[in-house]
């Protein structure tokens, strides 16, 4: 079992503490099919950065259990209504995540690349502004050992450009 792609529905969302394997998740969507022409995989990583308060050692991801999955499912439904997707998967982690590790994974499958690219970007833009997750920095040199990450107006703009109707 461990060697093959994990079997599951073509469309799914998951919230988990464990790391994910982007290659394996992507392979699942096209596994055993001959009609898929494009698979787009996006992985958002925890990035090491350095501020005046010193280096970031980790991010702590808090989420709203139940609503996080529900909201990710609604975002996925909206993407399916807009593009001819054959499969899509969103995996979002919670808990402590160190630089270099993946935080979020979006995979989309479609007959042609345009829809797969667009849907993946749409899913990420809406995830960032409407999926109930919050990042807190772990920065040992900072007051209280790190602060909550503030929402960016650029993320709101990125979500808004897709128009009303999502989330």
């Amino acid at each position: 079992m461990a060697d093959g792609p994990p079997a599951s529905d073509a469309f799914s969302v998951r919230v988990q503490a464990d790391a994910f394997d982007a290659t394996r998740e992507a392979a699942t969507l096209a596994h055993g099919r001959t009609d898929v022409g494009a698979v787009v995989t996006f992985t958002g990583l925890c990035r090491a950065d350095e501020t005046a308060d010193g280096p970031l050692t980790a991010l702590h991801l808090e989420h709203y259990p139940g609503m996080a999955e529900a909201e990710m499912g609604r975002i996925l439904d909206e993407a399916r209504a807009r593009w001819p997707l054959q499969g899509a998967r969103i995996v979002h982690r919670h808990g402590r995540i160190v630089p270099g590790e993946g935080i979020v994974l979006v995979v989309t499958a479609s007959p042609h690349r345009g829809a797969a690219f667009a849907a993946a970007e749409f899913l990420m833009d809406w995830l960032k502004t409407s999926a109930p997750f919050w990042k807190k920095e772990e920065r040992p040199g900072a007051p209280d050992d790190g602060a909550w990450v503030e929402a960016k107006a650029t993320d709101d703009d990125a979500a808004e450009r897709w128009g009303a109707g999502a989330a």
Binding site: Y64, M67, A70, A151
Partner: protein
């Protein structure tokens, strides 16, 4: 009804969740936030700037003017920063 708090609202209130029984004149999400803020202490600190507080009713995003009518679970949290 059950009220849940996340991220820095949770830290300021000092609770992850609580049962509340607001008076009859608390009709909307904004009314509830004002009523909670009036409790003082951590609640007052958490709700001091309503413009940066988001809310969900029964696990769906809502605007401040959304009526509470019948909701079982209300959540308050800052703008989301996942992804």
């Amino acid at each position: 009804m059950k009220v849940l708090y996340f991220a820095w609202l949770r830290e300021r209130v000092g609770l992850t969740e609580e049962e509340v029984d607001p008076p009859a004149d608390v009709h909307t999400v904004a009314d509830l936030a004002r009523w909670l803020q009036a409790r003082g202490g951590g609640h007052a600190h958490a709700f001091e700037n309503p413009a940066v507080v988001r809310a969900a009713l029964d696990r769906r995003h809502v605007k401040p003017d959304a009526p509470l009518a019948g909701a079982r679970e209300v959540a308050f949290f800052p703008p989301m920063t996942g992804g």
